[in-house]
């Protein structure tokens, strides 16, 4: 694990994994992110992006979540340096 500046899901690079740390944004936004199943400690990796710089696709466990960039930037993460195929 490396601790640098606060990164968000938006900063995640393809196939890079990270752990969700905290949230930012409006209460409504946070509530919705939570209800999608995004929560502290969840391991997430970036697996793709929809065309035209559209929503980014994240994998969490067996789920694919599509988040807009402004939505992804509301989730603070802690990078996991290695690309482990865990979870």
């Amino acid at each position: 694990m490396n601790h640098t500046e606060k990164k968000t899901l938006q900063d995640l690079k393809p196939l890079e994994s990270a752990e969700v740390e905290s949230f930012a944004g409006s209460p409504d936004m946070i509530a919705r992110l939570r209800e999608l199943g995004i929560r502290q400690g969840l391991q997430v990796s970036l697996i793709g992006q929809a065309p035209f710089w559209g929503p980014k696709l994240f994998r969490a466990g067996l789920t694919v979540l599509a988040l807009r960039q402004e939505e992804a930037s509301c989730v603070f993460i802690q990078s996991l340096k290695t690309d482990r195929r865990r979870n």
Binding site: Q40, P51, P55, L65
Partner: protein, 651 residues
Amino acid sequence: MRFHPESQDGSTAELARPVLALVGAPNSGKTTLYNWLTSSHYRVVNYPGSTVEYAVGKAAPRLQFDFAVIDTPGTYSLFPKSLDEEVTLKALYMSHSVGRVTHLAVVVDGTQLDRHLLLAKQAKAIGLPMMVIVTMADLIRRSSVKFRVDVLAQALDCPVVLFDGRMGQGLQQIAQTLRQISEPPAGPDTRGGIKAHAGEALKLQPWSDDQLLLEQSSVDSLAREVWHHEIKGLQEIYHATASADRILLHPVYGMLVFFLLMSLLFTSIYWLAKPMMEGVDLVFTGASEWVLHQQPDSVLFQFLGEGLLKGFGSVMVFVPQIFILFFGIGLLEGSGYLARAATLIDRPFAKLGLSGRSFVPLLSGFACAVPAMMASRNLSSRRDRWITNFIIPLMTCSARLPVYSLLLGFLFFNEPAWKAGVALAGLYLASAVLGALAAGVLNLLLPRREVSFFMMELPLYRRPRLTVLFRQSLHRTRAYILRAGPMIFFFALLIWGGTHFPTGAGTRAEGLEKSYLGQMGHYLTPVVKPMGVDWRVGIGMISAFAAREVFVSTLAIIFQVTGGEASRSEGLLKAMGEARWPDGSPLFTGASVMALIVFFMVALQCMSTFAVASKENSSLAFAITQLVVLNLVAYGLAVGVFQIFSMAALS
């Protein structure tokens, strides 16, 4: 929080039949389960005070246990944040036609335990006898997945049943389990439902953030345990989906597939339905003639044959198209593709002030604006909903199809069928472009106060069960006919009567002109003349407010009076070709027919849409604004088109 019933008396009458409410997250397979449980014999109920629908039905007889089933809107949480979630919670506490909810079945996706089990824990707090139904049994039974039902049952302290939505396996077990938990327990009797707590219950205490975290981590470890720390098999399933997504969400191939699928859907609506439509037409024309033949002079038989049967025939004729559209959308939805389509389209939609979530409502708008507006409920931003609902009536709904087929049939009379097909595709495209333009304009005009959300889960790809889809589409089509039917009957009666009375004039054409409707229609002439049509078409346009397709049956009745021809659509086309202005020039020209098409593309001529628009947005002002704006723009455009094309024809 647990609710103990205060009174145990008086509730026994309701105990006769258990009422099972299905609660589950979106995409949990809840509705599929519901359709299996009830064999699709259900009624869709509008929740009072809102238009959010839930379904109430009776268990299928083959389950050999009499109980009622209530399907609630999909929800991630029982602590309501959106309209959908609120309805779910209310549905659990209110009194239904079948009585109050006595039992809960929480539906969880077996491959998504870590996210769906939280809802089961929340449901536990309600305190009703409960079971958990694990769907996607076909997936979790496959390959090397181990699924510890016993662990789950023990942890949640309630029965757990596996269910395969594709084959319907597990239904008997669900019925048996319900029978077991319906047996009076030794402890306090909770079977009387929670009726004493209807008010209290809505205040179900939400968890604090800390509590939520705690519950979530316990759910996480439970999920791992249930999966027996052996999620390799599930990962295989995931990887199949991931590799499919690499193509289907690819900037080039993904868009290619998207357009291919959409064109396939819409060409099948036209080509596949054609023979069926001809069959329906044949049946109604035949029946109408047979009736008329029985007693040609009886007014009653004339009404039955000319008014009723022909009026209904012209509506029934496009039932195959509606069915195919419902089936197609169901197919895309059931396979998991629809969520991808929404993702693909999110960015372009965002430019118009919408989100990819608007894709499904707008696509449904191509079937019917009424269910489409209802589908816009899952748009979390009010602004998004507003814009989406405003442009939904611009989508080429199936009620426009009979109008378009008639008008295109006239434009391309005696020409190869593909030309009309291409023109129809063009109309579909044009309506999408028009919708986009309108959304863009609204986006500029409306103040931007809320953030719009897109975030969604992309479900695993699965092969849809065709028989289930078939039944579901059949049901939706039937519901559609049942809703449109009475209105069509009423207008058929009105228009037939209006064109037949007072009788006694010389020829039938004269009779029509002197009839009540004819007299009334003459007042319309100055209004509709700038768009190139006369009072007869004007009456058709007004009657179309009942439902657009009534335009065709009205024209059929109006021109049938003057004409009288064997095959209905052929006869109508011929009558249209022969229709003249008083000065002898043809009434229907390329310019006037095109003006009519443009009018029908834009105008909001549908009472049901108006009613739903007002309800869904809880604003009569919205509905009236929409009605006035769309119809004025339609009229203006139609007049413009007619003037330009008739000038072009002159030069």
